[in-house]
Symmetry: C2
Subunit: 241 residues, 2 copies
Amino acid sequence: MTARSTTDSARDIPEATVARLPVYLRALLSLADRNIAVCSSEELAAAAGVNSAKLRKDLSYLGSYGTRGVGYDVDYLRYQISREIGGTQEWPVVIVGIGNLGQALANFSGFRSRGFRIVALLDADRRLEGKEVAGIPVRPFRELADIVTEHQVAIGVISVPAPAAQDVADAMVQAGISSILNFAPTVLSVPPGVDVRKVDLSIELQILAYHESRKAQTEADGVPSLDGTGAVAIDPDGVTA
Amino acid sequence: MTARSTTDSARDIPEATVARLPVYLRALLSLADRNIAVCSSEELAAAAGVNSAKLRKDLSYLGSYGTRGVGYDVDYLRYQISREIGGTQEWPVVIVGIGNLGQALANFSGFRSRGFRIVALLDADRRLEGKEVAGIPVRPFRELADIVTEHQVAIGVISVPAPAAQDVADAMVQAGISSILNFAPTVLSVPPGVDVRKVDLSIELQILAYHESRKAQTEADGVPSLDGTGAVAIDPDGVTA
DNA sequence: CTCGGTTTGTTCTCGATTGCACAAACTGCC
DNA sequence: GGCAGTTTGTGCAATCGAGAACAAACCGAG
């Protein structure tokens, strides 16, 4: 859309590739844990659950970090991917909304190990103030701006009920946050330049339900299931005219 | 059952469209709450955060449920989409792994309101047995097969630590579950015919971090930023105001 | 040094998806 | 009844992503 500066050294990595880089990173970590120093694209692809050609093409966007005839050095590649996706620096994060989900997120160990540090838990509910979750005290929501400024927070997580999500997002943007991970089932509207990613639990289930109902329907139509598992045993009685 | 019924024209809905149908459904619900009986594709698209042309094309895969010059009847369209994605029937669901995340999922009200009923919470930890979460007792993991058979469960949710996820998935498939929503940060291997969707919290943050570091880099390259919300060339999937 | 075996990086092709643009169809007014 | 205004449904072009195939590059043996 917008023309980039001519001295743009940042290669433009396709969005689909960006989404897979963390997966590769995790697969490499798993290999390193097993003391594997070098791996082929085939092995790494298997560990990551993707096609090996796709893996090689993805990695080629970062540069030529492999050795033909040999494969990839696990540690070296791990560093390169990590650097590319900003994993070599520590990202301060705030979580707003310390309900069930917010507490689960605060306790999730995968954040810290990947370079994210939760600098504050915020909630508008006065009754939560003073409570500690995962060793971090819950602070009042109104302190958001101060915290963002003080810790240079760029990433915010929203885990409040849907009706409050837009207000929280507005406050985050106002405070200077430019990337938001939204767990509330709402469409957030933010100014350009602010990234929003949405994680919607019920939508994922609904997508599964769609495929599930198609499976049931296909079987009811008399088409034999393609796989030999015979695992599907759904009663399609609920089909209404 | 014949394959030529007028209502089952839904043979080839693109995956990208399927992923958006639940979003449209929620947007329609929001409109209905505001007592809006009819809406144009433009309005609905705005509420769902997508392009109106895309919305119309998506809906056209389901059939011609709009009226030219008028728009879409909110209730009617809501029913049609809901029926298409299997929302008119109730889907029994089991959740395995009642840690922080599992408890948050059990308490999440969005499931029941969208046609999903949690029939059991399972955990291998003996200390959790007897505990109630969201009014549902936690039962031992070994009862999985019986529960799946008894309630005709087709959808399972995995919220156990990564090392246990594959074992749980195997047991689910063995028991007859054919759709899995996986929150564990692991690549699951399942037989063909079984659908797996993955929700990975730290990957989402890492994707945000990638874009964030590019923003910082672009700014450092001399591209002027419009105050805190400097525009960047990357097109977010977020919505513009 | 040369050669066979292996593996990467890249090219090519094809299918999926997006967004535009516009004809078809409907409502309300005169 | 006819017309002006509005909105849907869809053909089309352009872009993006996936996977196969292959030449280039590397290692080790002889």
